[in-house]
């Protein structure tokens, strides 16, 4: 087995740009950092003296807090800026805000923004690394890294494993990033949900599409539920939440179609009773809370890799990559 690790990017803005080896390098560091969670002194001195700014222009609990804890566990200083408390509400442009943050001596920016491509844009204009914490419906790379890390912890190698992603694919950056990551790791992906929420174009990414829930669940090793995004869908994509629930909600009966050792995932926040029955979300098959814990260590890995000087050395050899 190869023991080579590699990271050749200034920024982490998408999974699409990462190689399989880079995804595995993040997982390797996440495993190293996970080991530190169980000890008396949880803080590592690794990023002492670095300053991380979280720029969150869209609401978030777990991603924002996980990035804050991740930075603090590595001894970086961290400050979070939310849109309502920033000069963006006074009309300052994103570019100006970001350049001010850079001028304030930040070493890295973590950004969530409603516009697809915004993290890439910042990465191009700033000298410091940018980590994408979700850009519109484009990508949420650290979510896919923590999801695949969680799957590997439970299932081992993902090559040949079957993952069913259920629900709103159309609006989901989590789905897009996971599809890229899972394909690179060799898993088979089936997308399932209302036809209006699953673009046919996803077949070109190598996904199977089905609207038959029973078939999608029967041979899955993993079922990944996605949040129904009330704030984006309005009422245009399915008639009602009740209708969605009747056809696609994961309830006790439908969960019995799953293999006994299949795992249930959800990136959160969970709409209990909509995507999944409350009891199932808390069942032994659910790894929803493990995903949250792994969100810390995966983000420690992402911060570390984007701030390591090995990355500068590698970038010097490969200037074409981001």
């Amino acid at each position: 087995m190869s023991t080579t690790t590699t990271w050749r990017h200034k920024d982490l803005t998408s999974i699409e740009r990462l190689t399989r080896e880079e995804i595995e390098t993040v997982h390797h560091y996440a495993a190293q950092f996970k080991q530190s969670l169980g000890r008396t002194q949880k803080k590592l001195p690794t990023l002492r003296g670095k300053t991380v700014i979280n720029l969150f222009i869209e609401p978030s609990t777990r991603t924002r807090v996980a990035f804050e804890i991740a930075a603090k566990r590595l001894s970086a200083d961290v400050t979070t800026i939310e849109e309502a408390a920033s000069s963006l509400v006074k009309g300052e442009s994103l570019r100006d805000t970001a350049e001010v943050i850079q001028a304030l001596n930040a070493d890295l920016i973590v950004m969530r923004h409603r516009s697809p491509g915004s993290a890439d844009y910042l990465g191009k204009i700033l000298n410091i690394p940018v980590i994408n914490a979700g850009d519109g419906a484009h990508e949420h790379p650290t979510q896919a890294l923590l999801d695949t890390f969680t799957m590997k912890e439970r299932l081992g190698d993902l090559a040949g494993r079957k993952v069913t992603i259920l629900g709103d694919i159309l609006f989901s950056r989590v789905a897009r990033s996971n599809i890229w990551a899972l394909k690179k790791l060799g898993a088979h992906i089936t997308l399932c949900g209302p036809a209006t929420l699953i673009p046919e174009s996803f077949r070109s990414l190598g996904c199977e599409i089905t609207h038959n829930l029973r078939a999608a669940l029967a041979d899955a090793d993993v079922v990944m539920l996605l949040r129904i995004q009330h704030e984006r869908q309005a009422s245009t994509h399915f008639p009602s939440l009740g209708e969605y629930k009747a056809l696609y909600s994961l309830n006790e009966e439908r969960a019995s179609w799953l293999k006994p050792d299949a795992i249930i995932m959800h990136p959160g926040p969970v709409n209990r009773g909509v995507e999944i029955d409350s009891a199932l979300a808390d069942s032994k098959q659910s790894v929803i809370l493990e995903q949250v814990t792994n969100g810390i260590v995966t983000r420690m890995a992402a911060l570390f890799l984007c701030l390591t000087k090995a990355n500068e050395l590698n970038n010097a050899q490969a200037p074409a990559q981001s």
Partner: protein, 181 residues
Amino acid sequence: MVYHSAMHFPQVDSKSLDAALEKLARELKSYLEPKPRAALVGIANGGITLAQLLAARIGGDLPVGVVNSSFHRDDVTLKLLPSNFALTDLDFEIDGATIVLVDDVFATGRTVRAALNELFDYGRPEEVCVAALVDINQKKLPLHPDFVGLSLELEPGQKVKVRLNPDEPAAHIIELEHSPA
């Protein structure tokens, strides 16, 4: 460049390495005998096999652990870790114990400095000492090994790599390497 031991260390063949290991085990055994609670902790990855071999020769169910000092190192951001790097594994009480940090090669002392920090993240040992199979006398910090199997004088820029074979002492190897500037 990597040379086989026989070319550059005619005096250090597998037999001498094994004798060095035996010497370390003997000295540690007599040192640890009066201690109420002791453990050997191999520094990842080079010290892991050595700690196991020493524990087997010392006998008496001495606990063996691993410390990975990577994230306390002063050079952690300069290069990536290989993916087979072992995790810290200390499955015994650190508070109040005598801990022997074990490494195959003691060079500058930087590894031991980082390993001490990692160890103290897990508790407060009564006492810590350092055992190295080979001391190459390139000390850069005010730290030194307390127990040494054998001592070598190297040219500047030279390093050694030790490969211990747990099943076959005759297959132990020491290699000389020129580290890149």
